[in-house]
């Protein structure tokens, strides 16, 4: 089965960020394909590299990056939702005249069309969030 995963909630605030990550891991272990993981609403915060939780807690953003590297996942952050919440890649930060960028490795910023394409190209689109 080919999946697209939509993550609508930020890490730590809401269990669904962890659940989406665990679903992705489990699907890959079972031999399924993941066409894309799309991050929307506060879900975009799964893609910041500047998150520093206490040492005894999980680092969700890093887990996404590692999973992406291991399996060649396409992790896409919605640009409109990201800009509202202060997530920038280097190119966009430069374009906006800002002095920093904060995208974690393995993530890329793109448009909502990438989510629509995920829906058309996958057998299932699974939504995580309220």
């Amino acid at each position: 089965m080919k999946y697209t995963i939509l993550v609508n909630e930020g890490p730590y605030q809401h269990q669904s960020a962890d659940t989406a990550l665990q679903f992705a891991r489990a699907a890959l272990e079972k031999g399924h394909k993941i066409f894309r993981v799309f991050f929307y609403h506060d879900g975009v915060n799964n893609g910041t590299r500047l998150s520093v939780p206490p040492a005894d807690d999980r680092l969700i953003q890093k887990s996404w990056s590692e999973l992406a590297e291991k399996h060649g996942l396409d992790l896409v952050i919605c640009i409109a939702a990201a800009q509202r919440r202060g997530l920038m890649d280097a190119d966009e930060a430069k374009r906006q005249g800002l002095d920093a960028n904060n995208i974690a490795p393995g993530f890329r910023i793109s448009g909502l069309g990438q989510l629509v394409e995920g829906g058309t190209q996958s057998d299932r689109l699974v939504v995580f969030g309220d």
């Binding site: 929307y40 609403h41 939702a81 069309g113 394409e117 829906g119 058309t120 689109l125």
Partner: protein, 134 residues
């Protein structure tokens, strides 16, 4: 890009959280990518299309006029849960008059809102290929 039946399920009130506003953004993009798009309004989602919205005091943008543009994007099927309306003391008269021009019928203006009960909503959902819930 191939075409599928997309259903966007709106379950939350229009203000208070950003879900409804950002859902509408995906709806418009999906139509721009020429998908067959329907909307459902369930639970507090029915408040998204009530008439006379004024969000000025909240500081949030009143985006309800955008729903009137859906017909121009060929989004003509807005399924509203009758139970969700009734549970909130609302009737169809409390909703905006959302219409579209039917190109197959000499551009006659027709209502986009379709009132459905839970069974009809479930049957409609069973026909969809991609369901996104916000």
């Amino acid at each position: 890009m191939s075409t599928k039946n997309f259903l966007f399920v709106n379950r939350k009130a229009p203000y208070g959280t950003v879900y409804a506003l950002e859902a509408l953004e995906v709806v418009l993009i999906s139509a721009a990518f020429e998908q067959n798009v329907s909307l459902a309004f369930i639970d507090d989602g029915v408040y998204q299309i009530t008439k006379g919205q004024n969000s000025r005091e909240t500081g949030m943008k009143n985006f309800s006029p955008t729903f009137r543009a859906l017909g121009d994007y060929d989004i003509t099927k807005l399924y509203v849960s009758t139970e969700s309306l009734t549970e909130r003391g609302l009737t169809v008269d409390d909703l905006m008059e959302l219409t579209y021009e039917d190109a197959d019928d000499d551009y006659a203006e027709k209502p986009s809102i379709i009132l459905v009960n839970r069974e009809e909503m479930a049957a409609m959902m069973a026909e969809q290929e991609v369901i996104l819930s916000f």
